[in-house]
C-alpha cells in the first residue's frame, strides 16, 4: 500500500521530460505527461477515453503490459514499435505497477523514443556502405584508367623528379621500342636524343613550378636509334599532401601528321606556283615567249641546273616545226645538244640520259616531262638536268606535269590565235584581190559602153539599149562595192579618208546624179543655209545619200516625188530624204539597219542585197552621227542623217 495517491505521482511525472503514461487494467490511458501527449499526439481530454493498445504495433509488448498489470512484475528497457497516425516509432519502455493509497492499480510506462537513434545507426551503416562502394568504384576506376592508359595510342609515361621512369604503358613500348620492364627505373634520357637533353632540365624545372606543358613538339629517340616527331603534354603528379613528386607525360607520335602538314604545305605551294605560272603564260600569245617563260620559271622552281622546252608547233600551213627554249647554264650544252640530240628530238620527241651524256654534259639528275596536247598527242617535252645527284623528286615531277598541262593550254591558245590572225590577214587579202579582180573588168566594160554611147549620134535607136547596159554596169559596180564594204565592216570598220567639205554641194551632186538616171521621180532639194561644212569622208557620205535616194525611189513606185533637205539642229547638220511611198511598219523599222534585211513583202520586185542601210549606218556611226527613220504605213518615210558640225 502506498501512501501517495496516483495524483501525487502524476504531479511529479509532469515535470519529467521523458514520455510517461499510466494505463488501467483495460488499457485506457489515464494519464500522460506533456512529453507523452506530444509523442502520442493526444489531448488531455483524450485521457480516460483513448486506449493505449492501438498505439502498440507488436502484440507481444501488449502481453508485457498485461504481465506487468497481472503479475506486478516490472519490465525494463523492452523494445517496442509504436504506431502514431501511421508514423512508426521505435521505443524502449519500462513498466511499473503502482497501487496508490486508494488501492487503484495503474501501470506506469516510461518510454524512450529511440527512432532517431536507430536512424543514426543506419546512417552510419549507410555511410559505411557508401565508403565501400566508393572503394569499389575507385578500384574499378583505377582498373579502367589502367585499361585506358594501356590501350591508349598515346605513350603515357610517368617519372619522378629525378627523371626516373615510374610507369610505362603499352603505347610507349610500341612508340619507343622499349618494353615496360626495360624502361622502368631507367632515366628518361633513355628516349631523349643527346642533342635535346637540355630539354629535360627545362621540363623538370617547369614541373617543379607546378606548370603544365601542353603540345610541346619535339623529337624523341627510339630504341632502334631512329628519331620520331612527338607532341608532349606533361603535368605534375601531386601526392595527398600536395607535394609534387613527379611528372606524367603523354607523348603523341606526330610523324604522320608532320608528314601530312608538309604535304599540305607542298600542295599549297604547288597550287600557288601553278597560279603564278598560269598568269605568267596567259599574258602572252607568242609561242616563243610562252616557251621561254615556262622553262625559265619551272627551272627556277625545281632548282634545275638547266632546262629545255621542246615544242612541235603548227604554223598556218599546218607544217610542224620544232621550237626550243633554254634556261640555265646551257651555253656549251646547247651547241652539242643542237648537233647531237636535236635530230632525235625531231624524230621521236624522246630524249634520254645517254643522249645528254653523249652531248658532253656532266649530268647526274635528270627529269623529263612530256607535254601532251588535248588530243592526247605528245607535242613537246620539258627536260631538266642537274650536275648533282638526287636533285629531283616525285613532287617536282607532279608539279611539272601540272605546268606542262598549263603550258600546253597556253600554247594551243597561242597557236589558235596565230591561226586566226593569219586567216584574218588572208581574208583581208582576199577582199583586196576580189575588189581588184572584179572592178577591173567592170572598168573597161563601162568605158567601152560609154565610148559607144558618146560616139552615137543623137536619135540613134540603139542609144536606149546602150544606156540600159550602162545602168546595169553601174548596178553591178555598186553591188561589188557593197559586198566588199560589208566584208570590211565585218572585220572592223570601213576605212575613212576625212577632209573638210560642204555638205550642200555634196548632196546637190548626189541628187543630180540620181535625178539623171531616174525619170520616174522628181527630186527636190532645199537647204536652210547655202553651206554646211563638216569634217568627214565626202565619198562615203555621198554613198549614204545615194543609197537613201535610191531607196526612196525604189520603195515608192506609186509616187513621183522625193524631197531632200539640209538643215541645222542641235549643232548638227541634218540631212533628210523624204519619200511618199508605202512606208515602214514599226516592227520593220527595228530591222532595216541590220545586215541583209529587205522589206519582205516587196523584195521580190526590188533588187539589191539589202545591205545598203547596213553600210550607211556604219558610215554615219563612224562620223559620230545618227541614222534614223520616221515612218507610218502608207505615208512614206523620212530618213535622217545627223552629223555633228
Amino acid at each position: 500500500m502506498n501512501k501517495f495517491s496516483h495524483r501525487d505521482i502524476q504531479d511529479i511525472h509532469d515535470l519529467n521530460n521523458i514520455p510517461i503514461v499510466s494505463i488501467d487494467s483495460t488499457g485506457l490511458i489515464t494519464y500522460g505527461n506533456s512529453t507523452a501527449l506530444r509523442l502520442l499526439r493526444i489531448e488531455k481530454a483524450d485521457l480516460g477515453i483513448r486506449n493505449f493498445f492501438p498505439f502498440l504495433k507488436k502484440t507481444h509488448s501488449g502481453e508485457l503490459f498485461y504481465q506487468t498489470l497481472v503479475t506486478g512484475i516490472s519490465v525494463t528497457n523492452e523494445l517496442a514499435n509504436m504506431l502514431v497516425d501511421e508514423d512508426e516509432y521505435h521505443v524502449t519502455f519500462s513498466s511499473h505497477l503502482i497501487e496508490d493509497r486508494d488501492g487503484i492499480r495503474l501501470v506506469y510506462l516510461f518510454f524512450q523514443n529511440i527512432t532517431a537513434l536507430e536512424k543514426g545507426e543506419n546512417l552510419f551503416a549507410a555511410q559505411e556502405l557508401k565508403f565501400e562502394k566508393l572503394l569499389i568504384e575507385s578500384r574499378e576506376r583505377q582498373a579502367r584508367l589502367a585499361a585506358i592508359v594501356n590501350t591508349s595510342d598515346d605513350a603515357i609515361v610517368s617519372k619522378n623528379l629525378q627523371g626516373i621512369i615510374t610507369s610505362w604503358n603499352h603505347a610507349a613500348s610500341i612508340m619507343f621500342g622499349y618494353t615496360e620492364a626495360e624502361a622502368l627505373d631507367k632515366h628518361i634520357s633513355l628516349i631523349i636524343p643527346p642533342e635535346r637533353l637540355q630539354e629535360e632540365e627545362l621540363i623538370i624545372n617547369k614541373i617543379k613550378n607546378s606548370e603544365r606543358i601542353a603540345h610541346f613538339e619535339t623529337m624523341r629517340l627510339r630504341k632502334d636509334g631512329k628519331q620520331i616527331s612527338v607532341s608532349l603534354s606533361i603535368s605534375p603528379i601531386i601526392d595527398e599532401t600536395g607535394k609534387i613528386i613527379g611528372a606524367s607525360k603523354i607523348a603523341r607520335d606526330i610523324s604522320r601528321q608532320k608528314e601530312f602538314d608538309e604535304k599540305l604545305q607542298r600542295y599549297t605551294s604547288h597550287v600557288e606556283t601553278l597560279n603564278t605560272m598560269s598568269k605568267l603564260v596567259s599574258e602572252s600569245l607568242e609561242i616563243n615567249e610562252i616557251l621561254q617563260r615556262v622553262i625559265d620559271a619551272s627551272s627556277k622552281i625545281i632548282g634545275a641546273g638547266f632546262g629545255i622546252f621542246s615544242y612541235q608547233s603548227r604554223d598556218s600551213t599546218q607544217e610542224h616545226q620544232l621550237q626550243f627554249a633554254y634556261a640555265g647554264q646551257i651555253e656549251d650544252f646547247e651547241k652539242s645538244f643542237r648537233t647531237t640530240v636535236a635530230d632525235d628530238f625531231l624524230n621521236s620527241l624522246d630524249l634520254d640520259l645517254k643522249d645528254l651524256a653523249g652531248g658532253g654534259m656532266n649530268i647526274e639528275s635528270f627529269l623529263s616531262i612530256p607535254v601532251i596536247s588535248k588530243s592526247g598527242d605528245v607535242v613537246g617535252q620539258l627536260v631538266f638536268g642537274h650536275k648533282d645527284e638526287n636533285r629531283f623528286n616525285e613532287d617536282h615531277e607532279k608539279l611539272l606535269v601540272g605546268i606542262a598541262t598549263l603550258a600546253n593550254t597556253a600554247l594551243e591558245n597561242a597557236t589558235l590565235y596565230e591561226e586566226i590572225r593569219s586567216l584574218n590577214a588572208k581574208k583581208d587579202e582576199f577582199i583586196g584581190l576580189a575588189s581588184h579582180e572584179l572592178k577591173t573588168p567592170i572598168t573597161s566594160l563601162k568605158g567601152f559602153l560609154q565610148f559607144i554611147n558618146m560616139r552615137m549620134v543623137e536619135g540613134d535607136s540603139n542609144k536606149v539599149i546602150i544606156n540600159k547596159a550602162l545602168q546595169q554596169t553601174n548596178r553591178l559596180s555598186s553591188l561589188v562595192g557593197d559586198m566588199l564594204d560589208v566584208a570590211r565592216i565585218e572585220t572592223g570598220h570601213l576605212p575613212l579618208s576625212r577632209s573638210s567639205f560642204d555638205v550642200v554641194e555634196m548632196v546637190k551632186e548626189a541628187v543630180e546624179q540620181i535625178q539623171y538616171a531616174a525619170s520616174s521621180h522628181l527630186i527636190t532639194f532645199h537647204s536652210e543655209k547655202p553651206t554646211y561644212t563638216i569634217f568627214g569622208d565626202r565619198q562615203r557620205l555621198e554613198q549614204v545619200v545615194i543609197n537613201l535616194l535610191n531607196n526612196a525611189i525604189k520603195y515608192s513606185p506609186e509616187a513621183n516625188l522625193v524631197k531632200v533637205s539640209v538643215l541645222e539642229q542641235e549643232s548638227c547638220c541634218v540631212l533628210q530624204v523624204q519619200d511618199f511611198g508605202m512606208g515602214i511598219s514599226p516592227e520593220q523599222q527595228g530591222h532595216i539597219f541590220s545586215r541583209f534585211y529587205r522589206a519582205a513583202d516587196i523584195s521580190s520586185n526590188i533588187s539589191g542585197f539589202g545591205i545598203g542601210l547596213y553600210i550607211s549606218k556604219d558610215i554615219v556611226d563612224q562620223h559620230n552621227g545618227e541614222l534614223s527613220v520616221q515612218s507610218e504605213i502608207g505615208k512614206g518615210a523620212i530618213f535622217r542623217v545627223k552629223i555633228p558640225l
Binding site: I431, G432, S435, H436, L438, K439, T440, P441, I442, T443, S444, L445, K446, G447, F448, Q450, F451, M454, R455, T473, S477, L484, R488, P495, S497, Q539
Partner: protein, 122 residues
C-alpha cells in the same frame, strides 16, 4: 604642139578602152605601156604631159612609178592621174604624189573633164 598622154596599166582591156576613148575625144597623142617595168624608161624618153597610171601592177606598182618620177629631177613635171580598184587607192596615190585619183570603175566624162582641166592648167 599636140599634148602627150601616157597610159600605164597592166590590164590590156583597160589600156585598149582608154586608147579608144582618149584617141577619139581628145587632141592628144596617146602612148601606152602594159609592163610597168618598161614604163619609167619610156616616160623619160616620151616626156608626156599627162600620165594615167594604175596602182596595182606586178613588180613595179603605180605608186612606186609615181615616186620615181617625182624624185627624178631630170624628168619634166607631168600631171598624174592615178586610178585604182584598190580600196585604199586614194591614200596610196596622193601619198605617192599623184595629182588626181580616180576610183575604178569611173565615168569617161569624169576622165575627159579632168584631162581638159589639166590642159588648161598645164
Amino acid at each position: 604642139m599636140r599634148r602627150k598622154i601616157f597610159i600605164c596599166d597592166d590590164d590590156k582591156n583597160i589600156v585598149e578602152m582608154l586608147e579608144m576613148v582618149l584617141g577619139e575625144f581628145t587632141e592628144a597623142t596617146i602612148i601606152s605601156e602594159t609592163d610597168s617595168r618598161n614604163a619609167f624608161a619610156r616616160l623619160a624618153i616620151e616626156n608626156p604631159d599627162i600620165l594615167l597610171v594604175d596602182i596595182s601592177m606586178p613588180i613595179v606598182s603605180g605608186d612606186q612609178l609615181i615616186r620615181q618620177i617625182r624624185d627624178d629631177p631630170s624628168i619634166s613635171p607631168m600631171f598624174i592621174i592615178c586610178m585604182s580598184a584598190n580600196l585604199m587607192g586614194e591614200q596610196i596615190a596622193i601619198n605617192a604624189g599623184a595629182d588626181v585619183y580616180l576610183a575604178k570603175p569611173f565615168d569617161m566624162s569624169q576622165l575627159l573633164s579632168l584631162i581638159a582641166g589639166a590642159a588648161q592648167t598645164g
